[in-house]
Amino acid sequence: MLLYSSFERVGEAFLKRATIMLKIKNLYASVDGQEILKGINLEIKPGEVHAIMGPNGSGKSTLANVLAGKQEYEVTAGEVTFLGENLLDKAPETRAKDGLFLSFQYPVEIPGVPMANFIKTAVNEHRVHRGEKELTAGQFLKLMREKMELVEMKTKLTNRSVNEGFSGGEKKKNEIFQMAMLEPKLAILDETDSGLDIDALRTVANGVNALKSPETSSIVITHYQRLLDYIVPDFVHILYHGKIVKTAGKELALELEEKGYDWIKSEKGN
């Protein structure tokens, strides 16, 4: 019995270490010399949904972009580990292929590049990275149809150039479609709800929920409670002036909705 339980303990410790998806430690980052993130600490385990809320300019999108590896953002201090490895050392495309996905707040248009070709290239880059064979045309089409259904995306969109002439809602659906195609371990949704009407919001949220699993996690960045009615977070963090100033369960979002950010501002004496 004694022997068994010591084994168990070792096993638990191992599991615990392996089950940290993302760990952010004292992260500082600036853009054009202006400090935006001022010591972020955050730990995310597989299966968890974390919502990050906060007023405009608090650093939400900066955090998302720093994690994804955008060039203009300079990390001045701190550490980030993703699946136990140093994230900040890696090129953006490697981070992506390791399983980090960013759903952009403002997805860019790439004229002349058909969406289907774009996502096929992306999927195959991921597969090669994992040591898998590239998909055949047939396999790819099947996968694409399946995932398009998930977000109720129209077929014609994949024939068009990447995001070109897409409505606001279509662009956001397209982000979730790409997420479904790439099956990331950690998805960061940067204001995926902005610009969506209630039906589109529900579709997008359903897509996100369908992809949820005990092995995957997400960070949902939003201004509003309404998205969190559909994507229910395990934790809600409030980001203010580049720091997480409050962390609680999903009820925090409701509290925010009721009291507004002024409550936080006054609490922080600012």
């Binding site: 590896g69 060039q71 090129a91 953006p92 992506a96 997805p107 002349g112 992306a122 880059e125």
Partner: protein
Amino acid sequence: MERKVAMEEQNKLLNDVTQADYKYGFVTDIETDIIEKGLNEDIIRLISKKKGEPEFMLNFRLEAFKKWEKMEMPDWAYLKIPPIDLQSISYYAAPKKQPKYESLDEVDPELLDTFNKLGIPVEEQKHLAGVAVDVVMDSVSVKTTFKETLAEKGIIFCSFSEAVKEHPELVKKYLGKAVPVSDNYFAALNSAVFSDGSFCYIPKGVRCPMELSTYFRINAANTGQFERTLIVADDDSYVSYLEGCTAPMRDENQLHAAVVEIITMDRAEVKYSTVQNWYPGNKEGVGGIYNFVTKRGVCRGVSSKISWTQVETGSAITWKYPSCILLGDNSVGEFNSVALTNNFQQADTGSKMIHIGKNTKSTIISKGISAGRSDNSYRGLVKVMPGAKNSRNFSQCDSLLLNDTCGAHTFPYIDVRNKSSVVEHEATTSKIGEDQIFYCNQRGIDTETAIGMIVNGYAKEVLNKLPMEFAVEAQKLLQLSLEGSVG
């Protein structure tokens, strides 16, 4: 700090890719017959004699030479052209072996190897859906395929020398009719000394059943390359003609002054597509081909059509303005171009559309892409004569810059001499978006692939005009020539 490392790595990658050695830089060791360097009347007589030409050809050459002697090299283009010593060039080079083959087994294995290195094996070409290949190695055609299939339809597709021998009446009738000997300095030079090229005649009412393609290749050291192409499409005929080029690496600059003439009769249509990838010089701007080309088509017949489509990525200097003279009523001219410059390359390219007939239409779509420290200029003339009633032109000139050290320039000339015609000109200049690259990166696509994708997307409108097999090659070429240089 990590970010800096990542950026340095990316810059290094960009450098490696941008400054990779010219992929097709190799020399084929085939015995070559070269005449002494220099240019004078005796040399021209010698070229004509070596080729066993009839007298009208010699006279054509001599007339061109006399005109050329009185001409000056043009200096109006936005190009810095180093002095070219035309007396240090040898004006004739032909492979010594001039065999006639029944099958590929008999072809010089080294020549076949050259095509393998180019990724265009003749074996595959033969089987490629309906593509006849007339391979020009240096200046003399070595092999022509599909000739019999074409002959059944009455189509003549052969080397220029052969056409002079077999069809002198056609050559005499049409040579110099689109590009007169005195047209410009380089066309006159070409007319005087051209060694070989291709000739194509499509008889009345015949649609050429296959794409005709020629692979040109400059191969002998210090040999000026003067190709001559003449395409004649008789009434109600159609042909799609492809021209593609790569050249071996050279330290010395090589002059290339080709002439292409197209003539279309009533309701005939010619599509002429080019992918040009000559050695552009090294990353310091040393070496590379000087490419001074005169390409012109005359829509002689009513409702005839000529379209030029080009993807230009090579050469140290490009001076090239494929043009259409819209003589026949209701005739149509098109120019679709992607011109890419990198490192120290310079390109001054565009088109001329001369509207003479009534209800004539022309379209110019030009996509310039500049990288490195290169300069890329569009220069175009749209001229509508008084008699060209109700004519229309639409021009669109886009420039894409990949960094802050390269240049893009647009020089449109518009001259409209009647009131019923409409001419439209649109131009845009943009820089490749960091956000677009990051978006691709975030989906797992590395920067070099991303740039290739974005640029191909930008050029798509033109690439779509290319025949299928060429479009694929052109896409690869753009990706290869261009990656990197984002800053």
